[in-house]
Assembly symmetry: C2
Homo-oligomer: 151 residues x 2
């Protein structure tokens, strides 16, 4: 699918690249206060989840699910938040966010107003766990994509 001019997710990765597979990539979002904030970005420029065919949707959501699984194991979040919004950037991307009772917004969504500062030591502990998780996820998502070659 052709890239679309002036689309930030056609022009660039959109964050720190964790892994790129043929249909999609995983990036770390670098959102302040949320070290465990990742996005699964479909490379092709489609706006809505249902612009994908059913096998593509299945692959995309299995990638999202595998990010959640790794996040739960490595980061022990109190909750995982999943969302495909795209109001600002209508190029399909799934937010996968590790949430904690101590984080700046909990239990509100990350898009609501902050409720408190997040403790620096807690944020640092999550950050310290990211490299091992990302290494594992790069392998998991490559394996997933190769099992769906041609999707």
């Amino acid at each position: 699918m052709a890239a679309v001019a002036d689309c930030p997710l056609c022009d660039a990765d959109g964050g720190v690249l964790v892994v790129r597979t043929p249909p999609l990539r995983l990036i770390r979002a670098q959102e302040a206060g949320f070290p465990g904030f990742y996005r699964v970005v479909w490379h092709g420029h489609v706006a809505e989840f249902t612009d994908l065919a059913a096998p593509q949707r299945a692959l995309c959501m299995e990638a999202v699910a595998q990010v959640e699984v790794a996040m739960r194991r490595h980061l022990s979040p109190d909750k995982v938040n999943l969302a495909a919004l795209g109001n600002q950037v209508p190029h399909l991307h799934w937010h996968v966010i590790a949430r904690y009772r101590w984080d700046s917004h909990f239990p509100a969504p990350v898009w609501a107003a902050a409720q408190r500062p997040a403790p620096a030591d807690r944020l640092a502990a999550v950050e310290a766990a990211l490299p091992a998780m990302e290494q594992e996820l790069a392998e998991t998502l490559r394996r997933l994509a190769s099992g769906h070659a041609g999707t």
Copy 2:
């Protein structure tokens, strides 16, 4: 799966019931300012999407996708928002929300601060399109569940 005490989505439908199938239900959320706001609720009390097995996840997301498809056809939204958050009610439910450039929050998420009042005539036009969409969706989701009996 046993119901959990004091869980609002174990105790009640959680909104206006559109259809109930063996594993999940569709409800209209009745959120002020967002007539096209629905939730796909998994009946069993699980907190995270990946608490479901892969075939259950696939069925759940196909239900979400079918709600989006019907929404796009009947309500012509500018964008559809999908989200499974559950910070407040950790019982798996997917928000499926028809968004419009004219709505009170666009392009911000519905959980952010409002930016303007939504025009009453536009809201009424969306509301008028809901019954036909819901009737179609009830049939679609029943068919989907019967095709996945035993999932």
